[in-house]
């Protein structure tokens, strides 16, 4: 038995993008053939290497994280490992029974009951009928849906649905598990349950390839990590140091210029246009925020037609992607907010003496409640906060370990003894 469970050898994946639209219509192909336009089209095409010469090895029983920004090639790697798409060149060897999870609940059908979906989903994920029967009770117990097991899943709450879907996946017993960040679902309690289960899997001698944005999860679950950027391996090694380096690198990006460019390049939407997002202190734009002064987050946007339920909101995160707070621009309105057509400036104020002296990320999103999201991906803005507010001079250089540092009101009185 070999010690290496997964060996990727110079794996590359080429996508052709450009003028040619895929999927094409049959009519276009016919006219192309007749008018010799094919060659001309080829000239307009552009090659995009989603992955370029990726090599790595994973030892049996090891958990490895694949990290990187959006577009770094993580999901392409995942698709190749799951055999959903083929590499253009290179070779991967996997020794052992492989299961891959790109999402939970693949193939779930709303009309089928919980019981039926367990059987179907189990089969899709590669369990045999005998295995499904054998683990059925365990799956139901894990998902906590005993009472509804014969109800069609379309009547399930989204929490129940996710729990059931994850439960099936969690009871796969592969030797090699390829998994996407399916953990980013459900409430906090369920997320930690999933993480524990994943940890179990990893500590039972199975090999895990974990593709994720969730840096704390990568650190806890994985021994080592491969860091991808623009389709190439930047480096690989011990997961803690890889994550730290990756976070340092990504915080230097997503600065002001990137955001301006990103906003300019957003695809047009018939209802909404994001015009700008700026950080202001004393009405001046800044990326170097002082925590002793209030910070205004200014969002400028245009609404083309009066819309019910439109809202713009942001999340404040630290570099480990932990959400510290979320705020909605019309969150204090009682009824469903109605946003009139026109140009708007929304400013949210984070008070002075609230942020800690550390880097933060701002994730801006917009949507129409219960209808759709208005930004395909959140706009990410990274900024640094410097200490300037109240500070105890007796401990220079002391940094709070807290993710925020609000100045709390202390009442210190002598107790009457």
């Amino acid at each position: 038995m070999s010690e290496i469970a997964v060996r990727a050898d110079n794996v590359s994946k080429l996508y052709r993008i450009g003028a040619r639209r895929d999927p094409r219509t049959f009519r276009e192909t016919l006219t192309d053939l007749m008018t010799f336009r094919r060659q001309q089209r080829n000239a307009e095409e552009r090659d995009l290497w989603a992955l370029r010469d990726i090599s790595f090895e994973v030892k049996r029983g090891e958990a490895i994280g694949i990290i990187g920004q959006n577009g770094a090639g993580k999901s392409t790697m995942l698709k190749i490992l799951s055999r959903i798409t083929e590499p253009t060149s290179g070779r991967i060897e996997l020794r052992g029974r492989v299961s891959s999870l790109l999402e939970v609940g693949t193939g779930f059908h709303p009309e089928l009951t919980g019981r039926e979906n367990i059987a179907l989903n189990g089969a899709i994920l590669g369990m045999t009928r005998a295995e499904i029967r054998q683990r059925f009770d365990e799956i139901v117990a894990f998902a906590e849906v005993e009472r509804f097991i014969d109800t069609p899943v379309k009547y399930y709450s989204s929490g129940m649905y996710m729990r059931l879907a994850f439960a099936v996946a969690a009871h796969l017993e592969p030797e090699i598990l390829v998994v996407d960040e399916v953990l980013a679902v459900g409430d906090a309690a369920f997320q930690s349950k999933c993480l524990r289960k994943m940890n179990d899997v990893a500590s039972h001698g199975r090999t895990v390839l974990f593709v994720s944005h969730n840096m704390p999860a990568v650190k806890t679950l994985c021994h080592s990590a491969v860091w991808l950027m623009n389709g190439k391996v930047v480096d690989s090694g011990d997961s803690t140091s890889m994550v730290t380096r990756y976070l340092q690198h990504s915080s230097s990006r997503a600065g002001r210029e990137d955001v301006v460019q990103l906003i300019a390049g957003l695809p047009p939407d018939p209802v909404f246009r994001l015009d700008a997002i700026r950080l202001l202190q004393r009405d001046n734009e800044t990326t170097n925020v002082l925590n002793g002064e209030p910070l205004d987050i200014e969002i400028r946007f245009t609404v083309f037609s009066t819309t019910l339920g439109l809202h713009v909101y942001f999340q404040l995160l630290d570099l480990e992607e932990v959400v510290i707070l979320e705020s909605i621009h019309n969150g204090s309105v009682d009824q469903a907010p109605r946003v009139e057509a026109g140009q708007w400036i929304a400013r949210a104020r984070i008070p002075a003496d609230f942020l800690a002296a550390r880097p933060y990320q701002l994730l801006l999103r917009a949507g129409i409640a219960d209808v759709r999201s208005l930004l395909r991906e959140p706009i990410r803005l990274t900024f640094d906060v410097q200490q300037s507010g109240v500070v105890n001079r007796a401990f220079p250089g002391y940094q709070t370990p807290g993710r925020i540092a609000p100045l709390l009101e202390w009442q210190v009185t002598r107790s009457a003894e």
Partner: protein, 277 residues
């Protein structure tokens, strides 16, 4: 489990032209069973009338055809009561037409699976067509009361051709679906052409009229359509008439050619499914 411990899976670019890995399809037979099971369940769950749909569909077509073509247009029916005559023709035809409709769309309509999990992609069109067998079987049961009503009894020895002709219809529609289901992923507009073709095809096949209705000198041209011998053989065997085996053989050969070429085409395109969908 231990026998699989040393299973070695190699992922690398596959050759552009390759045939079907039948061993792999066989290993995934349980999944095939689950796909069919899912489609059957869902199909009858979503409707108020449930299973009776399988019977209502050809039955209503029979009533409509019997009225317009039998009564109004007075089309001949080889001496068989006209409603029975069309119903017996509609049975293999409905199986074929539904199979072609769902089979050709199958890869696209299972995009959520194809882009998320690996399995031999050919299972998708196969299961889509197999699902139609259930409908067919139910509609076939309905034939019994109709036969009793019209005092017609099939000859036992010719009933052998019932499964045979349906088997050939299955192979034929499977061959077409391997071509079409892969093509639809690439050329989406084909999707809109298929229902239209099915409609025309039905009238080009002797279902509401007998083959003898076609003038002798054109009969060879009409018989190029492999569904002609299939429908004729099915109907002849129900009514105990001689079956023309040569036509069935022709349909079988056409089907096999379609299956072989179609699955090579399918395998060539399946590498792109996830990238295109």
């Amino acid at each position: 489990m231990s026998s699989e411990t040393d299973a070695l899976l190699i992922i690398e670019p596959s050759p552009a032209w390759r045939t079907v890995d039948l061993g792999e399809v066989w290993r995934y037979r349980e999944l095939l069973y689950f796909f069919v099971w899912r489609d059957v369940k869902v199909r009858y769950k979503q409707t108020v009338l449930g299973i009776s749909w399988a019977i209502i569909q050809p039955l209503f077509a029979m009533i409509v055809f019997a009225f317009f073509f039998g009564r109004v247009a007075k089309l001949p029916s080889d001496g068989i009561p006209y409603p029975l005559f069309t119903y017996a023709g509609l049975l293999p035809w409905t199986f074929f037409a539904n199979g072609l409709g769902t089979g050709s769309q199958s890869v696209l309509s299972n995009a959520n699976l194809v882009t998320k999990v690996y399995f031999p992609r050919l299972l998708v069109p196969i299961s889509a067509i197999l699902t139609g067998i259930v409908d067919f079987a139910l509609a076939l049961l309905m034939l019994a009361p109709l036969l009793i009503w019209k005092h017609t009894m099939p000859a036992a020895e010719s009933l052998f051709f019932v499964p045979l002709s349906i088997g050939i219809a299955f192979l034929f529609v499977f061959g077409l679906s391997t071509w079409l289901s892969a093509m639809v992923v690439r050329y989406r507009d084909i999707r809109h052409v298929v229902p239209f073709v099915i409609q025309i095809w039905m009238f080009a096949t002797p279902i509401v009229y007998p083959l003898s209705f076609i003038p002798q000198k054109w009969r060879w041209a009409v018989s190029l359509n492999p569904m002609v011998p299939v429908v004729e053989a099915f109907r002849s065997s129900i009514f105990g008439r001689p079956v023309e085996v040569g036509g069935l053989l022709y349909a079988l050969v056409v089907s096999l050619v379609l299956i072989v070429t179609g699955s090579i085409y399918f395998r060539r395109l399946e590498r792109l499914f996830a990238d295109v969908m």
